[in-house]
C-alpha cells in the first residue's frame, strides 16, 4: 500500500511531518524515509535492542512499533543524543573504557543506558545488567559496557 497516512511528531526536538504506509515500522521510517540511520535493524523481533529509540520518555524497540503510531509523540533517536548534555558522561566513558567493538549494537545500548540512567541515577552493576537485558552485543562480552555505564552513572550530575 502506498504511503498515505499523514503523521506529525517531534523528532529529536524538531517538529516533523511525513507520510507513512500502514505496514511500515518506526525503524523503517527513521532509516529509509528520514535518513536517520543511527538506529540499527538487527533481528526485527525485539530480541536484540539495536533499534532502541525513546518514545515519550520510554525505551522502545522501533522495529516493533508501527510508524503510524509515531503520530503525536515525542521521539528521540541516537542522533538526538549528539547534542544532549546529559549524555556527555556516557559518551566519554564508552570511549574511555573501550566499550565499543564492531559498533552495531552501540546506538541501541547507548539509548538504553541513557534511559536507565534517567530512571536510576547511580545504578549498580546488577541494575545495569538487568537494564540491558533487551540489548545484545556479540563482541564485547558486556564487561566494558557495564563498567562504562557504571562510571557514567558515578560521574554524571
Amino acid at each position: 500500500m502506498s504511503a498515505n497516512i499523514d503523521i506529525a511528531f517531534k523528532l529529536n526536538g524538531i517538529n516533523v511531518t511525513t507520510k507513512v504506509s500502514p505496514s511500515m515500522s518506526a525503524l523503517e521510517m527513521l532509516r529509509d524515509e528520514l535518513q536517520l540511520t543511527g538506529s540499527k535493524y538487527g533481528c526485527g523481533e525485539g530480541e536484540c535492542g539495536a533499534c532502541t529509540i525513546n518514545v515519550d520518555g520510554l525505551s522502545i524497540n522501533s522495529c516493533l512499533m508501527f510508524a503510524a503510531d509515531c503520530d503525536g509523540r515525542e521521539i528521540v533517536t541516537i542522533e538526538g543524543l549528539a547534542s544532549d548534555p546529559h549524555t556527555e558522561a556516557l559518551k566519554r566513558s564508552f570511549v574511555a573504557y573501550g566499550a565499543v567493538q564492531c559498533g552495531f549494537c552501540t546506538p541501541g545500548i547507548v539509548m538504553q543506558a541513557r534511559h536507565l540512567l534517567t530512571k536510576t541515577e547511580h545504578p549498580t552493576p546488577e541494575q545495569i545488567r538487568r537494564g540491558l537485558e533487551g540489548n545484545l552485543c556479540r563482541c564485547t562480552g558486556y564487561k566494558k559496557i557495564i563498567e562504562a555505564i557504571a562510571e557514567a552513572g558515578a560521574t554524571s550530575t
Binding site: 520510554l58 525505551s59 516493533l64 508501527f66 503510524a68 537485558e133
Partner: protein
C-alpha cells in the same frame, strides 16, 4: 518420535497474507468510535504491537483491510479500584504493572510475571490486553490472572450504544491464539477481585535465560496460609496445555490439608491436570518433570518469605 513444532506459540500461519492488504488505518480517540469501526467489520486491532508486528512480518497474522490503533483511547488506560475489584485498562503496560505498589502488594504473582516479561523495551510497549488476546499457551500474565480469577470486559456496539459483557478469563481462552472475542468486540479491561488480605501469591517461569524467553513452563500459586494448612488454594499452569489452565485436582489435593504431608498428593494430582506436548522448547516428559519439581519447591516455600 512424534515431535510437534512451536506448539506453545500461535498455530502455524495460514499462507502469508501481505500486510499491504490493509486499506485503511484508523486511530479512534474514544471507545464509542472504536466499537463503531469494529461493527463495520474487517478490523485488525493494534495496541502495543510487540506481537502483531513480528506476526505480520512472518505472515503469522492475517491482516484485515482496516488496521485500528487503539492506543489513543483514554477509556482503555489506567488501574482503578472500586467495590472490592481492581480494573486494569487493556492498555496497561507491563511497566505500569511493575511501577504499581498496589499490584506488588495485592497481586504479587501478577507483578512477578510482569517482572519476568521479555525486556525493558518490550515491557514499555506490551499491554495486558494484548497479552490476553494473543492467547499464547505460554502467555506470561495469563497464569497469574487465572490465579486471581480474572474476568475480561468486552465492549461492542449494539443499537448505536456501547454495550459490555464480562467473561471469566478461563472461559475466554479457547486455544492457542484463540479466544471468545467476537470480531465486533474490543477487550477494554480485565477485572481482578481483590483477594483476602492474607492471601499470598507466587509466580515461577522456567526458561533458558532470565530475559526475553518464552516460558518452557510457568506456575502460579495463590493461597491463604493458616498455620501448616493452605486455604483458598488457586494453582495455574502455563505452557502445559492448549491454553494456560487452572489446576482443580491439584487445588483439591492441597485445600485445607496439612503441609508438607499433602505435597506428594498434589504433585500426583498435577500430573493429571496438565497435558503437555513436545515442541521446540521441551519434550512433554521434561515439562512434566519441571512442573513436578518446581511445584514441589514452591509448596515447600509458600508463605515463608
Amino acid at each position: 518420535m512424534n515431535v510437534q513444532l512451536a506448539t506453545t506459540e500461535l498455530p502455524p500461519a495460514a499462507p502469508a497474507e501481505d500486510i499491504t492488504a490493509v486499506k485503511t488505518y484508523a486511530a479512534p480517540r474514544s471507545l464509542a468510535e472504536a466499537v463503531a469501526l469494529l461493527r463495520a467489520g474487517n478490523v485488525t486491532i493494534l495496541a502495543g504491537s510487540t506481537d502483531l508486528m513480528p506476526q505480520s512480518k512472518t505472515g503469522r497474522a492475517r491482516f484485515q483491510p482496516v488496521l485500528m490503533n487503539i492506543r489513543r483511547i483514554p477509556e482503555l488506560c489506567g488501574i482503578d479500584e472500586a467495590d472490592g475489584c481492581v480494573r486494569f485498562g487493556a492498555l496497561t503496560t507491563m511497566t505500569e504493572l511493575l511501577d504499581s505498589a498496589m499490584v506488588k502488594t495485592r497481586f504479587n504473582a501478577l507483578w512477578q510475571s510482569a517482572d519476568h516479561f521479555a525486556s525493558n523495551q518490550l515491557r514499555n510497549a506490551a499491554t495486558i490486553g494484548g497479552n490476553i488476546c494473543n492467547a499464547s499457551p505460554a502467555g506470561d500474565t495469563l497464569v497469574p490472572l487465572l490465579v486471581f480469577n480474572a474476568r475480561v470486559v468486552l465492549a461492542s456496539e449494539v443499537n448505536g450504544a456501547v454495550t459490555t459483557r464480562k467473561l471469566p478469563l478461563a472461559e475466554f481462552l479457547v486455544g492457542p491464539g484463540r479466544t471468545q472475542r467476537r470480531p465486533t468486540e474490543l477487550l477494554t479491561a480485565v477485572d481482578l477481585p481483590l483477594p483476602p488480605d492474607n492471601f499470598v501469591s507466587e509466580f515461577y517461569k522456567f526458561g533458558t535465560r532470565p530475559a526475553l524467553d518464552i516460558a518452557t513452563i510457568a506456575i502460579g500459586l495463590g493461597a491463604v496460609c493458616d498455620g501448616d494448612r493452605l486455604g483458598d488454594v488457586r494453582i495455574a499452569f502455563g505452557a502445559v496445555a492448549p491454553t494456560p489452565i487452572r489446576a482443580p485436582q491439584t487445588e483439591a489435593a492441597l485445600d485445607g490439608k496439612p503441609l508438607p504431608a499433602a505435597i506428594e498428593a498434589a504433585l500426583t494430582a498435577a500430573e493429571a491436570d496438565i497435558h503437555p506436548i513436545s515442541d521446540i522448547r521441551a519434550s512433554a516428559w521434561y515439562r512434566r518433570e519441571l512442573v513436578r519439581n518446581i511445584l514441589r519447591r514452591m509448596l515447600e516455600h509458600v508463605g515463608k518469605h
